[in-house]
Amino acid sequence: MTRTITVDDLKSLLNLIAEAMTREKSRLCELDGVIGDADHGIAMELGFSAAAKAAAVLDSATSDPTLVFNTAAKAFLNAVGASSGPLYATALMRAGASAKGKEFLTDDDLVDVFIALAKGIQDRGKAEIGEKTMVDAWAPAAAACGAARENRMPLATCLSEALAAAEAGTEATKDMIATKGRSSRLGERALGHIDPGAASATIVVSCFQTFFSP
């Protein structure tokens, strides 16, 4: 069964992520407070709320998925700045580029979009797996999603695999010493604590998984 993913679906997905960030804001700020400056939850809520709001006012009849992603990217960046701004704005712009020329998305397209998001985060932040950043959730999630799709799994399964990989990647950041971002000056003192960026990435992935589950 193949469904078509419309502009309205993407708007709803952004809303779902924004609502999740509002719910999880305090937890993300607390995680960030241990190894950083305690504002990560605020930035993620601001960013995705602005992205969802900007996308919501687009005319669904005349917009395409690329416009939704690019509008969301710009709104996120201008609302936030910080480090999550450039990272998620780049991710959303890559998603837009991946969807270019399409009126709606197929399941295959959505997998490509998901992988493009992760690639955007990684390229902008120049981080690798193991450096205790959001890449530790995004990169394994994208890899798991792509691998499941190559094995002809349905989209919902691909995203469930992605979520499991993101959760495992986030848990693994506990045992990492940070080399990027503000926590990188802590050395071993950051050991034992989850990276807040990986935690928020997992929330985004879980929204994809929830939204596209049957």
Partner: protein, 339 residues
């Protein structure tokens, strides 16, 4: 536990602060039309002059926008509390201060700031405006000296920006301004201590925990953990710990001159800062180092965090001339303008 602040709404705090600053200082400052987070010096930019754009998160006042004015920074791009501004306000600042000689971006070395300012510089290049960058890395506690380029930028900003701003005002070329800015940064060292946490206006919750009798040496200005936590000691002992570490790196000889800054992180009062300054003077006297200029007060804060930092800029003739050059900003004056 919640903290108390005189705010209306946490989410509006930055914009309401900016409105207040513009209301208080219309002679010095204006805002770029259509870009409410881009603050420009009325008498700063002019044709042929390199434009100096500084910026970063709010919550460190008077850093950054208190240092916007003739003879120092031409503009500041203002971010959310403790968060870098996005590229747009940075670009608008650069366009507003470009006198045809190029623009220099200066800000503390934080990943978010680097990404946003770099994106702004890339976009400005498409409009044929050259924007170069010099990061400040004066925080001794944040990385070993061999990894100086990884260090954070903190209170030393005021001296480093001051030297670069003077070079701009003296109509140095972009190459020369960049050289001076790097030199000023290389010669500036800061070390801080935190006694109690701050809280963000949006959460009103302390952003880290510190016991009643504890202090943390080397804590960052956003509450990033420092290098050592221990029992709170008397001011002289704390001052020695901070200054010894700086002097260990600075390699000053007898007869050398320094500029000194004893900076409050927000809620530590002048009484305590002057107690520390007294000890700084005693130690520098003993080492035969001359204090050419000293600043004591709020220069780079972390909202209501209690604590202080000590900064030394190791002067040479050129840096001394630039530090003495007159400037007139809303929260900082020197030279003739201050008389």
């Amino acid at each position: 536990m919640k903290t108390k602040k005189l705010i209306n709404d946490g989410a509006a705090a930055v914009d309401e602060m900016l409105a207040g600053i513009l209301a208080a200082h219309p002679r010095h400052l204006r805002v770029v039309e259509g870009s409410p987070r881009s603050i420009v010096a009325n008498e700063g930019p002019r044709p042929g002059k390199v434009g100096l754009v500084i910026g970063g998160g709010s919550g460190h006042e008077p850093t950054f926008l208190g240092f916007v004015g003739k003879g120092l920074a031409d503009a500041a791009a203002i971010g959310n509390v403790f968060a870098s501004p996005p590229p747009d306000p940075i670009i608008e600042c650069a366009k507003a201060v470009d006198g045809g000689a190029g623009v220099l971006f200066m800000y503390g070395n934080y990943a978010g700031d680097v990404m946003n300012f770099d994106m702004a510089a890339e976009m400005l290049a498409m409009d044929d405006i050259e924007a170069r960058t010099v990061l400040t890395t004066d925080d001794v506690a944040s990385a070993p000296i061999e990894q100086r380029e990884r260090r954070r930028g903190v209170a030393g900003n005021v001296f480093i920006f001051k030297a670069a701003g003077a070079a701009c005002d003296l109509m140095y070329s972009l190459d020369e301004v960049e050289r001076v800015a790097r030199w000023a940064n290389d010669r500036t060292y800061t070390m801080g201590v935190a006694l109690s946490p701050c809280s963000l206006p949006q959460t009103l919750k302390p952003n880290f925990q510190l016991g009643d009798d504890e202090m943390e040496i080397g804590m960052g200005i956003h509450g990033e953990p420092g290098v050592a936590r221990g029992p709170l000691k008397p001011a002289d002992q704390v001052t020695s710990e901070l200054l010894d570490r700086i002097l260990g790196e600075m390699k000053a000889e007898r007869g050398d001159r320094v500029a000194v800054l004893v900076n409050s992180l927000g809620s530590t009062p002048l009484m305590e800062l002057y107690i520390m300054m007294r000890k700084v003077k005693m130690m520098l006297d003993a080492a035969g180092i001359e204090i050419h200029l000293s600043l004591v007060g709020n220069y780079c804060t972390s909202l209501e965090m209690a604590g202080a930092s000590i900064t030394l800029m190791h002067l040479d003739d050129e840096l001394q001339r630039l530090i003495d050059h007159p400037c007139d900003c809303v929260m900082f004056r020197s030279g003739e303008a201050s008389r």
